[in-house]
Symmetry: C3
Subunit: 167 residues, 3 copies
């Protein structure tokens, strides 16, 4: 990498880290217009990978009254505005905490990039809900595109290492 390319890549990487920081902060603050603004208009979301939520004894957990767990083709979207509206509806009354860790971001051209993030999410539903707590761990695999006003997330795919639920 030559000197000028290195600086441009470092700057893009920092900007993409801050983009993803807004993704997490806006989601947990339920700032849905801010959240939508981290995506390209044609962004795609894929959270459909198979995993089985378990209780703390490792037993599979039924999810009556909850969105069906993956594998679920419905957890794919190529309509980002609809996806964010659905998410806002799903998370009404739910306290969420999302963290990202250990990014591996690389430019794939002057205006495109790819990244992997380790993630952790904690959801707490209101008392009386079928599931009170979900605590999950996994990775995001993403692509990014630089639009006129800055970097955006163009695609996001979530895979899971572990998902715990508490009734």
């Amino acid at each position: 990498m030559n000197k000028i390319a290195a600086e441009a890549e470092l700057l893009a990487i920092e900007q993409i880290k801050q983009l993803k920081a807004r993704y997490f902060r806006c989601m947990d603050a339920k700032d849905w217009s801010g959240f939508l603004a981290v995506f390209t208009p044609d962004a795609t979301i894929d959270s459909s990978e198979a995993y089985t939520p378990t209780d703390l004894n490792g037993n599979p957990v039924p999810v009556d009254g909850m969105p069906s767990p993956p594998p679920n083709p419905a957890w794919r979207s190529s309509d980002i505005a609809e996806f964010v509206a659905d998410l806002a509806n799903t998370l009404t009354g739910v306290v969420t905490v999302h963290h990202g860790h250990m990014p591996e971001i690389a430019l794939t051209s002057a205006a495109t990039a790819s990244g992997i993030w380790s993630m952790e999410d904690m959801l707490r539903w209101p008392i009386g809900s079928p599931i009170r707590e979900m605590h999950g761990y996994g990775h995001y695999r993403e692509t990014y595109e630089r639009l006129a006003d800055g970097w955006r997330i163009k695609s996001l795919k979530l895979t899971r290492l572990r998902v715990d639920t508490t009734p």
Copy 2:
């Protein structure tokens, strides 16, 4: 951002990330002189925002024998040396783990900057204490100032997404 400004900003951002890393590491190691040294002499702290610690069933938790929870104007300080001395006293015998995530740091001038951090803290009091465990999540909103010997935290405001306690 032009090329030279970009490099200066990237360097400042990395230095501020390492400053905040010392904040967390010195606190958890109870290195109170190292902790005090991450702040400007006139630094202000504000942890007074309202939140209600709850148990894992979502019920509010009384905190007899504990520092009163916010909203509490006493959890504001403009005397950083006194604040750190009080913190050192409060945390004697308490095992603490503090993590920061997903910084959004921006230069506001050549020698000043602002930042937002996601945070998580875990406190474990000795057996027999009124509360055994506190596990919290939230955000720091901070400003920074570059002194002759490097960046320092000039102001820190903590807000909470969720605070769990265990008797």
Copy 3:
């Protein structure tokens, strides 16, 4: 730090962050050849520091059937290939989640660096194992060396703030 040195250091720091990201990702994915490739051929590992795993009441936990906890000189290795083979064996059937936070990385020469990372690890053994869950927190202190094909971890020393286990 002059301008060119700053850019070289920033680039090295980012590359070392991504190196450590591969360390975590390959471990949790059980990609043992990818994991081995983050180390220099002469890398040394030291996880021998004394700590006492406790249950959630703070009582020390016996570890019958588990690797003995530190202090244990056997948790030092100067044979990285053997260490990784042993780790792969130990973690067969164990779901692991490892996160790193708040790096403090500095160049010590053009081709060497040092770093401190805050860490958290969660291990879940299969049902019927003597211990079901381990959840730990601590710090890595590491050195790095730049080989012909990029940065590698040359030494790693782990210390602990807290280790919780659940039967």
